[in-house]
């Protein structure tokens, strides 16, 4: 026995998360899935970036920290290694 079903309305729900390994940004201590305190929307408007050392922060947050430091002394807040942006987010 078969049914012919016509889909009248379809409501999709998806969930997403940053693959950052930690729940909160170490600088603002807000969740990565939310936005930093001066961001309006989570997601692409509040991107998460990685350093080559592997530590992640909101882009806005790490930029403010680096700007407050001497040009010659830009370090990761967690491991204090020289800060360098990783080219792209790691995929898993």
């Amino acid at each position: 026995m078969t049914f012919d079903v016509e889909i009248v309305r379809w409501h999709a729900v998806a969930s997403w998360t940053w693959n950052a390994g930690d729940d909160v940004c170490g600088i603002c201590r807000m969740p990565f899935d939310g936005c930093p305190p001066d961001g309006k929307y989570p997601g692409d408007d509040s991107p998460v970036v990685w350093g080559v050392c592997g530590h992640a922060f909101h882009l806005q947050c790490i930029q403010k920290w680096l700007q407050s430091q001497a040009q010659t002394d830009q370090r990761c807040p967690f491991c204090r290694r020289a800060w360098e942006f990783k080219a792209a987010a790691p995929s898993s």
């Binding site: 600088i27 201590r29 305190p37 001066d38 407050s68």
Partner: protein
């Protein structure tokens, strides 16, 4: 902000301090109690002298003592460290002056400073307690009286610290 006369903390600072308060209330560091967080920019923490001795056979230098630690957040926290000092009477320690100023690199930014925005009040309190726990020489820093006179009414953040003594 009307709440803090003469001050204008950034929204980043306010939300971060609030987040730290929530974390503290859920998981306070051992031997520490938050005595006051009103106004939110000025915390007072009760710190119990560590009950253990630095090594078997050595005296317990601060057992039974209780200290008050003042944390004053700046408008640009956590890009700048909070002002951290003991409310006199401060613990007798080679890196703590009688006016409460503490010689510890993570509390300061600038040339020699070791402040990082990844540090929290929780971690600062733990560091200070372990600084007490590992001490074997219950004495004031050299030049304590002189330092306290020179820095009267000034924040410890204005002192040009040298952090060259890793032994104590």
């Amino acid at each position: 902000m009307a709440q803090f006369p003469g001050r204008s903390p950034t929204s980043v600072a306010m939300r971060r301090i609030q987040a730290e308060l929530n974390e503290w209330l859920l998981h306070p560091p051992e031997g520490c109690r938050l005595e006051s967080f009103e106004p939110l920019l000025n915390w007072v923490i009760l710190v119990q002298g560590p009950e253990n001795s630095p090594a078997p056979g050595l005296p317990r230098l601060y057992d039974g003592e209780l200290f008050r630690l003042a944390i004053n957040f700046g408008d640009h926290y956590p890009l700048e460290p909070p002002e951290v000092l003991f409310v006199p009477p401060s613990p007798v320690h080679p890196h703590i002056y009688s006016n409460g100023h503490i010689c510890l690199d993570i509390l300061y930014d600038g040339r020699n400073g070791g402040w990082s925005p990844a540090l929290t009040v929780n971690k600062i309190a733990l560091s200070l307690r372990s600084m007490l726990a590992s001490n074997t020489n219950k004495a004031r820093p050299a030049g304590d009286m002189d330092y306290c006179q020179r820095t009267r009414g000034r924040s410890p953040k204005q002192t040009n610290w040298e952090f060259d003594d890793d032994k104590v």
